[in-house]
Point group: C2
Chain length 228, copies 2
Amino acid sequence: MAATTKGPDAEGKPLTLRERKKLRTRQMLIDTALEQFTEHGFDRVTLDALCDAVEVSKRTFFRTFDSKEEVALAPAHDLWTAFLRELETAEPGNSAESSAFALLRDTLLATIERMAAADGGWAQRVRRSRRLAAGAPSIDAHGLAFCDRTSAAVVELVRQRFELSGTRGPQEGLLLRLTVDILVAAFRQAMDTWVADPAEPDAAGLVRAAADACAAVPESLSLRVSPR
Amino acid sequence: MAATTKGPDAEGKPLTLRERKKLRTRQMLIDTALEQFTEHGFDRVTLDALCDAVEVSKRTFFRTFDSKEEVALAPAHDLWTAFLRELETAEPGNSAESSAFALLRDTLLATIERMAAADGGWAQRVRRSRRLAAGAPSIDAHGLAFCDRTSAAVVELVRQRFELSGTRGPQEGLLLRLTVDILVAAFRQAMDTWVADPAEPDAAGLVRAAADACAAVPESLSLRVSPR
DNA sequence: TGGCTTGTGCCACTCAGTGGCAGTATCTCT
DNA sequence: AGAGATACTGCCACTGAGTGGCACAAGCCA
């Protein structure tokens, strides 16, 4: 994936003042947006109003985000970006199973933990963001599309870093894409159960939910139906 | 799912003139749109231009479709709508396996065949539509979101018509959703291979691709990776 | 300090999408 | 067949997202 995202590149430590300022307005925009959107509803908050509140020109907003939806999705965006970074150095599990699915799952769980550790408010922001997306179709659509693009990048990266085996077809890439999509489906499922559950609003809850959802995949394929 | 879609309800035969006219403009819009979009690019065709070509007011366009993207997605839209209808009367496979996944898969394949049988140009239109979506992020996003909404409706419908078993948890609904999402992932995969393959541009090719993708799901979960 | 780069504000503009209202075509009932 | 009820359509004005261009200011690098 080309670095087309406008998010932060949290790697090189020595941030110049300019960059720090930029990050600060970005965070300002995210926080204010999440707040306003949850308070008044996504489409009842105009960008003009939002930019007014943050004291930033609309032009600047669009230099920071690609669309009104993206600011609401920033937490999810950051998660997947971090996931990709994590995947660049991830190694197949030390356990017996070294399936691609397990690798991806473990990397995702590790990423979640790392995000939460690096920023205490992260879990809350993710929940807010997800709730917003659930209520506003256009946000959800953008989120889905972003997931999809990320999936493609994941497939790319894994093929580049690892040797695939366990199949005879010439279509390892296709199988891999399916694997990634299944992981994503499980994660979305986990997200929704986590967001709906008031008991564990912290990152640990999300990790647990994600692990559960991944574990449920084989079961779900053998789920049986009978007419009632 | 409430009947919020603006698509045709191809069930009651005696179509009144009004409805026939409406359907005709709808089809006109779809055909012209697919043509113009593929020719000049999605965002280089304004709605004004499109409506001009079909000699319809923009207001009328928005009474027929919810958004500019939706007209490009109409074929996919129709497919999933038909899938839902099909599912209302589908019965678990007569074969030994009566898994939910098999039920959904078979229903989907049957729906594809039925769509193609009812309308010769259908396959071509679907290909065009999919190609458009692949090239225009905003179309793709809308398509994903629509798939998601349909998935929810499918879960709803299956839970209503069938008894689920094969699991001990109280979360059959969650498992089922996962099942549906996996089917959708497989189908999207199939779509892309089918669209990319010039050899079998007819519906039979899509059916084959979809069946293959579904069959590949278990394999994909056991796909193994090793560092290179 | 002074030039150089980079981010910002402002302005005007395009285009998707909506509400309202008046006009016309279709339906229905006798 | 004709008249009234019932869609559906066209037109117009409007909101709001998103973009291009240019002048200006703030941070950067000697």
